[in-house]
Structure formats: C-alpha cells, structure tokens
C-alpha cells in the first residue's frame, strides 16, 4: 500500500462555497481524481459532497464530470468538449481540484469558473513516487555538503549555513514534531567522519534568481513542445541505431534446414500443399488457405520436405504447423517465379494479383496481408509509406532505403497504381539522413511522391500516430487507416511488392537487423524465411549475457524468445539482445499520471489496470482497451513497475472470449 497521500486540495467550507457560488443557479461540476494517492475509485467523495450542498441551497446541477489529471490540458480539453452542450447550459462551472486544475479549466472554458477547493501546501516536490524525502528545487543543490539531507526543505527556516539555535532536545522550535534538520545533518556527517566539511566552508547565500521566470518558462515550453511533438504522448527512448546503421545489407550463409510456419500473417492459417518426401523448389507455393484474410506461404529454398509438423512459433503462444525442408543449396527456382511485368505494363488488378500470389504481408510486425489492404472498397487518397522504424536498434528498413531507393520508389508507385491513388508519401524519422538523401536523389521530380522527414519519437511507426503527424487525420477508435482514406505500408513490404511484380519472387527472404549486447557480428542481414534463430546466432556469434534476453522484433514491442529454435518469419525485422526488465513485483498504482501522459492512444492505462485486476470487463472495454496498440510506453514509464502490456493483452483476450 502506498504509505503517503499527497492530495493537494480540500473542499472549502460551506459558507465560503455558497459565497463563491453566489447567484449562479445552474452549476456544472468538474472534479479531478486526486493524483499521488492510492488508486481506489474513479470519483472522489468531494463531488457528492458538493452536489448535496448545491441541492440543499436550491441550485441545479447541470451535470458533472470526474476526470483524471485535470491539469493535462490536451485530454481535459477533449473531455470537456464532449460535454460542451451540458456545460453551456450552466451559469458557471464549479471545479473541484488543486489550483492548477482550476486554472486549466478556466483556460479552456469561456464560462465563469468557480474554484471550490483550497490547495494544500506539500512543502516541496516529492519526486514521482510517494516518498518522505522532498526537494525544494532550489537549483543550487547542497546535498553533497549536508550528508544527503536537504536543509532547504527539512529545516523549517530553510537555513543553509547551520542551525538557528532554537532547537530543543533535537526538535525544531517551530513544531515539536519536527526534527531539527541541522542536527540530523550533523549526526549524519559525524557518523561518516565528515563533520568538518560544512563547518569549514564559507557561508553561502542562496541565489533565488537561479530559477527565474524566464528560465522556468523556457523549460515548460521546451518540455511541452517535446511532449506534443506531432502527436500526443509517446517517448524518446535511447535509439542506439549507430550499432548497425552503417552496416551494408549482407547475405548470411544459407541454413541446412528451414522450418517454415504456415501462419505468418494475420488471418487464417494455411494448409500444407506438400508432404514429407516431396521435392520443392525455391519460390514454390507450399501453403494456402481459402479464407479471405490469409496469405500464401512459399518455400525459401529448394530441397526435400522432411516433415510437416507442429513447431513452436516465435509470436504465437501455441505450436503451429511448419513445413521442414532440407536445403539442397542448389536454389532451383520454381517455374512460377517469373516477372509479372513492369509498372507501365501491369494493370492495377495484375499488381494486386502478383502481390497476392507472392504472399506479401505487412513486414513491420502486424503481418496483415497486403493484397487485402489494396482491394478495399473505401475511398482512398493517400499511400503512406512508413519508413520511421521508430524502435531502438533496428535498421533493416533504413538500409533498404539507403541501398535500394529505386525499388522502394517503384514499389510505392506499384501500390499507388494498384489502389488507384495518385498521392504517395514516404515518411521517415529525422535520424535517417542518409536514407532521406538517397530517396530524394532518386525521386527525379516526381510530383506525386513526397519524401518527408519527421522528428524522431516513439511510437511514430505506429500507423495511427504517423497518419496524425503527417496528414493530421485521426483514425477513429476501433477504425483502420482505410477509414480516413489512407493505406499504410512499411518499407520492407514495398520492396517485397517490387520483387513480387518485377521478379515474380514471392516473399521468401527479408532483411533483419541483428544487434544488441553479446552480438559479435551485428549487422543487417538478408535472411531466408524459415531460418532458425539458432543458426543465425551461430553465424553472427550471439551469446545472450546474464540478465539479457533475445527478442524478435524491436527492443520495446519485440517478442521475448526463451528458445533459439524458432524460425525467422515474414514480420521479423530484428533479432536483438536487450537487458531484461526488472523482475520486481508491481507495486500499487500511486496515480503519478505518467502513463496517461505518454499513452499515444490517449487511454488511461492506470485505470485499465485497476479494472482489469477487478475483472470488471465492462469498464475495461469502456475505457478502450481494444484501442491499445501495445506500444509499451506506459509500462516503460510506470513508476510502480506494473506489467501493463501483459495485463492489456490478456484483457483483450478475456473480452474476446466473453463475446464468443
């Protein structure tokens, strides 16, 4: 249980409240759920108290809205807008909050705003967690000289040059419940034999100008700009792209055996078209399904089928049928692998067919079949190519843009033609200067395609965030990019489209970034689908150190692998080794609000956790768990170390099962 409660407001007394409310007859109540206190309920008792008082005084309550973190202007504005009609009917808005919340509401509404609370002084800043230690944020830290006890906050007079002399029996003269801070400082230093340090120092004068209005203002503006850059929320993780960004895409020695899962896409699992003992050639279709949402599977080598059997899947929690093929290393190409034509010779339908035949899926991780996106009946106007690769460490797409810009551009033009769209945009993060230049140089004045660079921020590569940033359109909750007229594809997918049309080559290989701690030969490798991670580990010299783990995908959203006996699949953009997360158990939420600040989907992760743990599925659904994109920002930032993504994944599963 949280030990402390940092509630910052208390309701004014009755007389004062009535005095403030005055002649206003219809009152709308906005209340803030307290921050930095135990998360128990989602509406604070003060609201009911005020409501009762209003009723007794013969006033009408025009409505009420409890909100989390009222000071979060972006979210509060949206919430208040959603009830604007009710608010406008009121004479005034009564706000139950600390002074910051009241000022936020007053700034957002053109109605008289009545402050219903007095804010309670907390004496300094208490960090992000509930803590007895506090900081005066004086800008001139004295803790080194004072044994780590703060004289500014802990001494009731804020003296910085020793005690005042008013202490009696170690207690402060201001309150006998308070220890004399300077005595504590002296005792601490004495125990370390350092008591001479501060005594011998010249007296200090506190410089109150260190944090002046201009400096403070510039900090606020800088942080706000970073927070709101492009889209709401998100994080700026350490990128560590430099490990592989200069490494040219190289081939890795082909494996002896490949194991190709029959499910490498969103949708129905494929049925095997081959049996053990059969010979297959490179590019031969070995898996297909009649379902609408599915994608063909092809052999990535030529050789003999050893078995068709269930094996562990790198992403799915259950075994999936795999076609195990012994590679004869002859790379005999299937007769079906032949060029389907070119951008000018192919019709739109032919391109879609080629993409379908090649089993192309979204290669950024979601693995949604590309041909389905292109066959949408919706009115579309833009193809947005996602070159952000916002996950730390990954460079596969980056290298493709640097080394194969023509293929990227042609692939994009093919997609535009197939979907009948005349506008294409390639968006990449501003940390990919070389890729940007490379694409620009091959653009040759094509006015239909725009290459733009956006400021780096995670999770920019999430299609919703990218659409918001680049086109300033908001994909509705529960909707798809198609709903706002956009098709989003990632760079690897576009290159696969190019290969599917120009070379008739199915999706049988992809570029994978191998990097991280304990990787002897990091790089961007072209790897055949179905190659075992164990073989790659041998070829690249991967030794996972203690306290580290191997992930397939990115550093944040990637899937942890407990064995190396899993194959590379179509969506594997990275094989990386990263530090394990703390395995400490989660502490109760203290409502620090950071998860709400970083959630790019504008959800309230802390509340979702509360409801999920209480198995209150109605509320979990209402709070929008299905809209969670599992980007992991909330978990990364959580000061209570809640395993949020895991909780949300199982909540989604529970909701789906309930619906069945």
């Amino acid at each position: 249980m949280p030990k402390l409660d940092y509630t910052k407001y208390k309701l004014k007394n009755k007389e004062e409240l009535l005095n403030i409310i005055g002649d206003n007859a219809r009152i709308y109540i906005v209340s803030c759920n307290k921050c930095f206190s135990e998360l128990k309920s989602t509406c604070e008792p003060e609201t009911a108290e005020l409501n009762k008082l209003l009723n007794e005084a013969g006033k009408t309550t025009a409505g009420f809205m409890p909100l989390d973190f009222l000071c979060n202007e972006h979210l509060s504005e949206k919430a208040l807008n959603s009830v604007k009609q009710d608010i406008l009917k009121a004479d005034a808005v009564a706000v139950i909050s600390c002074g910051i919340g009241i000022q936020t509401v007053a700034g957002l509404l053109a109605l008289p705003v009545l402050g219903m609370c007095d804010s309670v002084f907390q004496g300094g800043y208490h960090g992000i967690s509930l803590n007895t230690e506090k900081c005066g944020a004086c800008g001139d830290c004295y803790l080194t000289a004072t044994g780590g006890i703060c004289p500014v906050v802990d001494c009731s007079k804020g003296l910085i040059n020793g005690p005042c002399g008013g202490a009696k029996n170690s207690k402060c003269e201001v309150s006998k419940d308070k220890d004399c801070a300077w005595e504590s400082i002296y005792n601490r230093l004495k125990s370390q034999n350092r008591q001479d340090v501060f005594i011998s120092e010249a007296p200090k004068i506190r410089n109150y100008n260190k944090n002046n209005a201009d400096f403070m203002d510039s900090n606020v503006k800088r942080i706000q700009a970073k927070r709101n850059e492009g889209f709401y929320g998100g994080l700026y993780p350490e990128e560590r792209k430099e490990l592989t960004e200069k490494l040219v895409i190289t081939k890795i020695a082909d494996p002896e055996i490949v194991s190709i899962p029959l499910q490498q896409h969103a949708g129905a699992v494929c049925e095997a078209l081959v049996k053990a003992g059969e010979r297959v050639s490179l590019g031969q279709k070995i898996g297909a399904s009649k379902a609408f949402v599915s994608a063909y599977i092809h052999s990535s080598v030529s050789g003999e089928v050893l078995a068709v059997e269930p094996r562990k899947h790198p992403l799915l929690p259950f075994p999936v049928l795999n076609v195990i093929i012994k590679n004869d290393k002859k790379d005999e190409i299937a007769p079906s692998v032949a060029s389907k034509g070119s951008l000018s010779s192919c019709t739109g339908e032919a391109i879609v067919q080629a993409i379908k035949d090649a089993g192309v899926v979204g290669m950024g991780g979601a693995q949604f079949p590309t041909h389905i996106k292109l066959s949408s009946a919706k009115v579309l106007d833009t193809v947005l190519i996602n070159g952000c690769e916002c996950e730390p460490l990954l460079n596969a797409d980056n290298r493709l843009m640097i080394e194969r810009p023509e293929q990227v551009l042609t692939g994009l033009r093919l997609i535009m033609k197939a979907a009948g769209i005349s506008k294409g945009i390639i968006a990449l993060e501003d940390n990919k200067i070389e890729a940007f230049e490379s694409l620009k140089s091959k653009l040759a004045g094509d006015a239909c395609i725009e290459v733009i660079s956006v400021r780096t921020k995670y999770p920019e590569g999430a299609e919703r965030m990218l659409i918001k940033r680049v086109l300033n359109r908001e994909v509705p909750r529960g909707g798809l990019p198609l709903d706002v007229g956009v098709i989003v594809n990632n760079i690897s997918t576009v290159v696969a489209v190019y290969e599917a049309v120009y070379n008739g080559l199915p999706l049988v290989r992809r570029v994978v970034t191998v990097a991280g701690a304990g990787v002897e030969k990091p790089g961007n490798y072209e790897i055949k689908i179905g190659m075992q991670v164990a073989d790659i580990a041998r070829a690249c010299g991967i030794k996972v150190p203690d306290n580290f783990e191997l992930k397939m995908g990115g550093a944040i959203m990637g899937f942890v692998q407990d064995t190396l006996d899993v194959p590379v699949i179509k969506g594997t953009n990275g094989i990386i080794v990263v530090r394990k997360k703390d395995e400490l158990t989660a502490e109760p939420c203290i409502k620090c609000g950071r998860c709400v600040n970083v959630c790019p989907m504008e959800l309230k992760p802390h509340k979702l956790v509360l409801f999920a743990q209480a198995e209150n599925w109605e509320m979990v659904e209402k709070e929008g768990v299905m809209n969670c994109i599992e980007c992991g920002c909330c978990e990364d930032i959580c000061s209570s170390k809640s395993h949020m993504v895991e909780i949300f994944k199982s909540s989604k599963k529970a909701l789906k099962e309930r619906k069945k």
Partner: protein
Amino acid sequence: MLITQLKKKEELLPFFKENILLIACFGCKEVHFPSKEYELLKAELKTLNLNISGEIVLDYLCNEDYTAKRLELYRNEITKAGTLLVFACGVGVQTLAALLPDKTILAGCDTFYVPGFSGFTPTSYDCEQCGECKLGLTAGICPLTACSKGLLNGPCGGTKNGKCEVSKNMDCGWEKILLKSKAIGEPNPRIKEIVSIRDYKKSFS
C-alpha cells in the same frame, strides 16, 4: 514537477578523492534528465584518469521500496565504492542518502522547479498551494503565481504594454485577470472586494 541540470565539472572535481561509483537515475529520462550531457561528462571523467569504480543506471530512485530492493543487487559495488556520485533530482539523492546512511553521497545535479504537480505535465501556470484559493473571483487566473509579486488586491502599476516590470516576457497577471473577466461576461463584482492579508498558516492546515 522538476527538472535537473548537471553541475559543472569544476564543481564536482574537488570531490574525486577516493574511488567513486556513479549512480544515474533515468526515471525521467525522455524529457528531464540531461542524458546526453551526462554521457559527455562521463566520457570526460574517464579521460581524466579518475578513480571511477563503476556505474549503475537506475530509474525512479525516488521510489524508496524499489531502490532498496535494487540496491541489494549492487551491494558489492556499493560496498567497494568509497563515495557515490548521484545524478538525480534532489529527491533521488535524498532517498539514496537515507537508504545508505553510512555512505558519502555526492549530488551531481542541480534541481529546478517547473510548474505543475501531476506526473510530468508541465503547465505554464502554477499553484502555490496557499490554502485560500481566490480563483473563483479572479476568472481562474491565480494572482499569487501569475503576478510576479503575488499581489492579491489588484495590479501594482508597474506594468507596461501588458507586460510585467519584472520581466518583459511575462504578462501582467492582473491585466490578464481583468481581460479574462470581461471576456466571460461582467467582471465578478466581488473582485473589487479588498482581500484580507494572506494567512500563510492556512497553507499548512
């Protein structure tokens, strides 16, 4: 909320006497901790042949329970180190000092205040937690914090073109209050009431 800045190298160097363990708190990494400057400083310290025994990177040092658990993991390094140089806000440094009372703790950062309480939502306005909220009378603009002098009974007269005489980048709080009052209808007549002298004791009750 608050924000940290590295102390100058010259300020830190006199303390480099015995073997030093660096502890950095990256809890507020993405916006607030000067991580790039920290990396540069670390590289520079390394070239100076100083006796640095190691580095521990943690987050949310202010989370006492976690920090206590995690310090257990690094007990050896900490025991060996003579001094800990902590790069964190004042709360983090104090938390560590309280958990390791027998260790000399050095503060590597200065901590500055940024308006706003909850999490890390920075606001351009602030609340002084005076315990006598006047916002209902002042169109939701706080005279204590929006006026650089914290005047409760109207402007001082030192404003020029809507700007405060203390800083020309700062709007006059009282002018803002009056403009906003007019914008939302008639100014609350009670705005003209003389506000009693601020009771500083209230904020502690």
